[in-house]
Symmetry: C2
DNA sequence: GAAGAAGCTGACCGATTGGTCAAGAATGAA
DNA sequence: TTCATTCTTGACCAATCGGTCAGCTTCTTC
């Protein structure tokens, strides 16, 4: 298994904008594939199952996606695109409490609304990130480092404790994604098979409170 | 795929204590299987690979373990046994700061020393816990609930903030297991391919500080 | 409506999967 | 030494895997 995300060799026939039929079928396939891959992992997922889930013959899936690997990579690319849209334009002059609260809220909403995408990503990382290694060591690393720099400056200005910013980011990632990736564990232990929006809101408030207070963030957010 | 952990139908020929040969070979197979299953997931792992990793022919693996499923279940059982030995005898009269610190330290050490076991468990949960559902809704749920009761009483006595205890347990679980389950992500972003003991100690101290302060735990631990 | 492009799919392929089995080799208690 | 138990393993099996392909139908465009 290669370790690159840009395997242009295997590709669907068309590149850019395509006909309505193609657009609809590709959407159906990608939706089905996200569910199946997130539930069974890369090797555990079979094209037959994806095809059945999408309501199409297996050959049709391969017609549009080229190969299993290409389908998986395309899914990952889609997930990563929408991964870190938030927190993209923060600056030293922003309010730490507001920014951190919004970050936690945004990640929790992600876990709530796109648990399959989160689990797809988690499965890829769990297996050693065979396809995402370059992304982790490049793009994502830079993203984290630049945010960490802002956190450090906030600490210098006395707006929060001088905690290690990268550990803080990992803490927020893990605590929020937990509710998507370990959904079955959370459901089993709480007994709430249907983790409601109110449940999620309670957890969000808890995390915001503990993280802000735990890092000594001073001012309170507006809301 | 069934959802029970007690499938006594498939079983290795012998039950209890066994000869030296059997003991050594089973150990080799279980060690190899833990590595392979944690790296590739249940369906992604093949008996051929496990056998090669153990240095035995495939037939021999099946002779000792009966089937792939039985081998996997036996591994999971072993992991769960050693899962929550800690925090087992806490009482309302213990010092919250000490107990929570020890809990975090213990879980971080688990991530450090048995990352494959952690990833094996994570993979099982990620895929909906097909084999562990009963365990989650039974044993583990009771364990969590009884610990939560102690946390609540600490809050009543004013020793910590009245935070939701179950959310707190999830927070500690996720934050600590992150360094085993998402090891490849942590390595990619920090650049430390070899996350040293000192790195781990720094993170442990960070988590203890943030969690204790964030939950308003009053007294400080001895150490 | 002609013609080329795009969409569709059943039949088929070699490789790999988990699992069986029979026959022989090593072991250990009497 | 005997002999039953345990251990070992290559050959083999049906099922499933991802992927190819030829030939068909349906669309689009002029």
């Amino acid at each position: 298994m290669g370790s690159q995300l840009d395997d242009r060799a295997l590709k669907a026939p068309l590149e850019a904008e395509a006909g309505a039929i193609r657009q609809r079928n590709e959407r159906d396939i990608l939706d089905a594939a996200e569910r199946v891959f997130s539930r069974h992992g890369y090797r555990g997922a079979s094209l037959k199952l994806i095809a059945e889930e999408a309501g199409l013959p297996k050959s049709n899936v391969l017609y549009y996606m080229g190969s299993k690997k290409a389908l998986y990579v395309r899914l990952l690319e889609g997930v990563m695109e929408r991964w870190n849209m938030m927190l993209d334009d923060i600056s030293v002059d922003d309010d730490p409490a507001e920014v951190l609260s919004a970050f936690i809220r945004s990640k929790m909403e992600m876990s709530r609304r796109h648990p399959e995408a989160s689990r797809l990503f988690a499965g890829e990382i769990l297996q050693g990130a065979p396809f995402l290694q370059d992304y982790l060591r490049g793009e994502l690393r830079d993203w984290v480092e630049s945010r960490a720099e802002v956190f450090r400056k906030w600490a210098e200005r006395g707006l929060m404790d001088p905690v290690d910013p990268i550990s803080l980011i990992f803490l927020i990632w893990s605590a929020t994604q937990h509710y998507a990736d370990f959904q079955s564990q959370v459901a089993g232990i709480t007994g709430h098979d249907d983790f409601t929006d109110e449940d999620m809101q309670r957890v969000t408030d808890f995390l915001i409170q503990v993280v802000l207070k735990g890092c000594g963030v001073v001012s309170a957010p507006r809301g």
